[in-house]
Amino acid sequence: MSTAQPAVTFRSVSKVFNERARDRVKALDDINLEIQPGEFISLIGPSGCGKSTLLRLVGDLIAPSAGTVLVNGKPAPQARLNREYGMVFQQATLYDWRTISHNVQLPLEVLGWPAAKREARAREMLRLVQLEEFARHYPWQLSGGMQQRVAIARALAFEPSILLMDEPFGALDEMTRERLQLEVLRLWSQTGKTVIFVTHSIPEAVFLSTRVVVMSARPGRISGVVEIDLPQPRGFETREHPRFFEKITEVRERLRQDEVRTPSA
């Protein structure tokens, strides 16, 4: 690991929902994690393990109940105000009334960029995700996979150093999914961003990541971190690499150990 400032630091972070109500839920308990710049981190675990909550804490979409979340050395709210991360959700969340190009320009408008600069950047980003010819289309004219590529282009448009992805391919079919995984890897190696990727697919996590953070539920804890030392750059042949299957087994066993500990799951 480099000695540079970590991209994300969790220090004794916990998150309780409905703190004062009878249905209080401890979503995350004593999370400690450091993510280095340029890493590709996957968060994986059973539903209810708080992996999305963890991501949303980085984005300051929710606040921790206790502990500290630092993003590029700053508290998460400050990092959000500095626009240091881009967010991709499971749904593309494109705005229906905007063309594809204007969807990509949305964050740039919020940032107050001049129109010409915005348009040039949108063109550049759409070229990056290979959707240039759809700039003037509307979201409903694109397939689900294409919409998600637009969402990625939008998240990268203002050049945040961190990309947060919350099950971005969860609603897509397997073939589209594999194609987009390659695309994300390509973008990651081209741009050098830090990526934090929430998924419930073990092969997806292993294929994409430099490290896989395995979580357990009730309350959400980090139960282990698996280093994925598969050769870079990765491609179709990675999925046939013997180490790929070893790593999948390692992650799966890590997850199963947690299941044994909490039989209710």
Partner: protein, 303 residues
């Protein structure tokens, strides 16, 4: 938004038929229903004539009397439009009614504009202040449960005391009806974006104003047009009701009132006036729909 949508969801014409065919079909179905209604009206009258005003095979009278003094023939109603409004008058009834309708429409339009603006602003205020929404919404709802007939004379009296022109009171009465659907639907529309659409804005550290202009307002447009269509039709009702206590002689309100006095001797004139009132409301709604078509693509319209 669903995830996997086909590339072409534009409403396409049936293959082999020209592009204007759907419009013709729609107009045809409207015409067909009009014919059915006319047929039902005349059929009911024929039934009444055949049975002497009784329900067939019983000694019970029909619920509505079918004679010409209660239900004039459709052609009598249409025919009276092309006769002088009064004995010896120059103008035909349809000309009088058209002038009255245009007069009433001006009042309704003013009420529609004022009411829609008020309703829209209320929606915008409410979406930003849950406290105001909780506090004021019961009154907004209650305002619509008070009979308009009770409020209209009060507004007219206050208006005349303040020295307003009579049409201004009518506009307020019309606006009183129109603001409500716009307020409710604007609020619904402004709240319609999915949570992730709002979180996206939060991730950009967007200001409230940016969220309003770039997300909430465009998302609310389909809801707003739904409300404006309702408002267009009720603004006409508000204007007609408002005309009665104001003593405005030029609008449909007075025409309806006058012809109802002569209902016993000539019911067809009242029916003709009712027809024009309905046509006025319909025309206004169609105008709003045309604007909606210009502003919103088919995929975004709520229909």
């Amino acid at each position: 938004m669903t995830v996997a949508q086909p590339l072409e969801t534009q409403p396409t014409a049936v293959p082999g038929l020209p592009g204007w065919w759907p419009a013709v079909r729609r107009a045809g179905s409207v015409l067909l229903i009009l014919l059915v209604l006319v047929g039902a009206w005349e059929g009911y009258k024929a039934l009444g004539a055949a049975t002497g005003g009784l329900i067939p095979f019983t000694a019970l009278p029909l619920p509505v009397r079918a004679d010409d003094k209660s239900m004039p023939h459709v052609w009598t109603i249409v025919g009276v439009l092309f006769q002088p409004a009064r004995r010896g008058a120059e103008q035909l009834l349809w000309q009088i009614l058209l002038e009255a309708a245009l007069f009433t429409w001006r009042e309704a339009l003013a009420g529609f504009v004022v009411g829609s603006l008020v309703g829209f602003l209320l929606g915008v205020v409410f979406v930003h202040s849950p406290l105001l929404e909780r506090g004021l919404m019961p009154y907004v709802v209650a305002s619509q449960t008070v009979p308009l007939l009770a409020i209209a004379p009060m507004v007219v009296i206050w208006g005349s005391r303040l020295g307003w022109p009579a049409w201004a009171s009518v506009t307020i009465i019309s606006a009183y009806l129109t603001f409500f659907p716009v307020a409710i639907n604007t609020l619904r529309g402004l709240n319609s974006p999915e949570p992730t659409a709002l979180e996206l804005m939060r991730s950009y550290a967007a200001t409230r104003r940016q969220i309003l202009w770039k997300l909430r307002l465009p998302a609310a447009l389909p809801y707003l047009f739904t409300a404006l269509k309702i408002s267009a039709s009720v603004s006409v009702i508000g204007a007609i009701v408002g005309e009665l206590p104001s003593g405005i002689p030029d609008g449909l309100g007075r025409a309806l009132l006058t012809f109802s006095y002569y209902y016993i001797t000539g019911p067809e004139k009242l029916y003709a006036a009712i027809l024009f009132s309905a046509l006025l409301g319909l025309t206004f709604v169609v105008l709003v729909m045309l604007v909606e078509r210009l502003v919103l693509p088919a995929q975004r319209r709520l229909e």
